[in-house]
Amino acid sequence: MFLGQTLLHSLTPPVKGERVLRQIWFIGWKSMLVIALTGTFTGMVVALQGFPTLRRVGSEALLGPMVSLSLIRELGPVLTALMVTGRAGSAIAAEIGIMRTSEQIDALELMGLNPLRYVVVPNVLASLLALPVLTAVFDVIGILGGYVVGVGLLGLNGGTYFGEMSNYLEMKDILGGIYKALTFGLLIGWVCCYKGYHSRFGAEGVSAATTQAVVNASALILVWDYFVTSVVF
């Protein structure tokens, strides 16, 4: 019901554009560094682990496809979502929880403003829009990280790395990853806003809401990932 009302308010004017942009800046732009860092090392470790395995079967030329497919189909969307949950989702839950306990949400309601439209919708929309972009950044930087390890450290030919990648990578892989990222964005916004919005009173209540937001959203991301993967790919 919470999600339904949020989506309804997202689709009907007036949408608080300025607040959506501010939350995109908070969720998207301010997560960029951690996503870049995570993406770089994920791509590097996939290459480092994958290369010896591929060499055993004489297929080290397929390192590029292996890194890119792993990142684009699976690791990029999931790890991006988990990192955003930890960095921005927790902050969203805490902020809304504090607004609830300090009666700011009641104040909005008494002014005749719908708190869902003002507080929740901008976060959900921003999360929905930011996740695909962050995932794309994660994927690109991860692929470059894999290149650094595969070509720079392990001696694979640079042309082979990207050439084989273009042979194996299909549009449905990219679209599947984007679709996953979109649904994860919705899930993070929904769960974290819901937990903050229904926070119990006091510091303990906000603390519990924040913890539950992160744990529930992270677990749901992994569960949902399985079902999306089974349907999309």
Binding site: S102, Q104, D106, A107, L110, M111, G112
Partner: protein
């Protein structure tokens, strides 16, 4: 103007309100007192429909609050200002933006008119120069005054004050109560003030209502209220008065 009839409200097995009935006439300023946890703040939240009573009805200006929803409830609430216990100011906005917020969101006033109105309200509460500050930069007393300015900015007919002096020192607390009194007299507002500031609030209200064990046990002018032979009232008033005297005595020694 405000009438509550037989209000009941429970949380689980705990019955907080058990048949509360009272009336507040237009222009009256009424103090609502009672022990901690007696349901005073709850009663205010029922009046503005932030919570629904389990039973009973509330009329404000002849409109049934419980039966109102959507635009009707919004229209009813637009005539009521509410000063929250902690101020409930928006942390991310400056003082000026907090006060301007209801006008920007719910009226068609231009920015020039909003500025004039907000500046006027901030001047009224003595904070004209604090418009650029954020709530985190304000003292407790300043927060209450900004909350009052925000509550008044849409010219409400009724203002509800939920323990507005909690956490303030006696001097600031008295200054805030005097401000409320001055605003009430100047604007001829109808008001309900939930407070533990006994006896200072008796000097600024026309009536005192006492909530005890889920019911209103008295609604009387302050003089009659203090002279009431009811042992519950005497215990509450005298207990607080003694404590106040001790505090005053202590202050004069320093």
């Amino acid at each position: 103007m405000i009438r509550a009839d037989n209000l009941w409200k429970s949380f689980g097995h705990q019955e907080v309100l058990r048949g509360v009935s009272f009336e507040v006439q237009p222009g009256e300023f009424v103090a609502l007192i009672g022990g901690s946890g007696s349901g005073k703040s709850l009663l205010l939240k029922l009046l503005v429909s932030l919570l629904k009573p389990d039973n009973g009805r509330i009329w404000i200006s002849g409109k049934d609050v419980a039966a109102s929803s959507g635009k009707e409830l919004e229209s009813l609430r637009s005539r009521i200002g509410f000063v929250f216990q902690g101020g409930a100011l928006f942390d991310s906005m400056t003082v000026y933006d907090n006060v301007a917020f209801p006008l920007r969101e719910k009226t068609s006033l231009g920015e020039k008119d909003i500025r004039r109105k907000v500046t006027g309200e901030l001047e009224l509460v003595g904070l004209r120069d604090a418009g650029h500050k954020f709530p985190a930069q304000l003292s407790g007393g300043m927060i209450k005054r900004v909350a009052l300015a925000r509550a008044l900015v849409r010219d409400p007919e009724i203002v509800l004050f939920d323990e507005p002096t909690t956490g303030l020192d006696p001097v600031v607390s008295r200054a805030v109560l005097d401000l409320f009194s001055a605003v009430h007299q100047r604007r001829r507002l109808t008001g309900i003030l939930v407070s533990h500031e006994i006896p200072p609030i008796f000097e600024i209200v026309q009536k005192v209502a006492m909530l005890h064990e889920g019911r209103i046990v008295a609604v009387e002018p302050p003089g009659q209220f203090c002279a009431s032979p009811d042992p519950v009232i005497q215990q509450f008033v005298n207990g607080k008065a003694s404590a106040q005297s001790r505090l005053n005595g202590g202050a004069s020694l320093t």
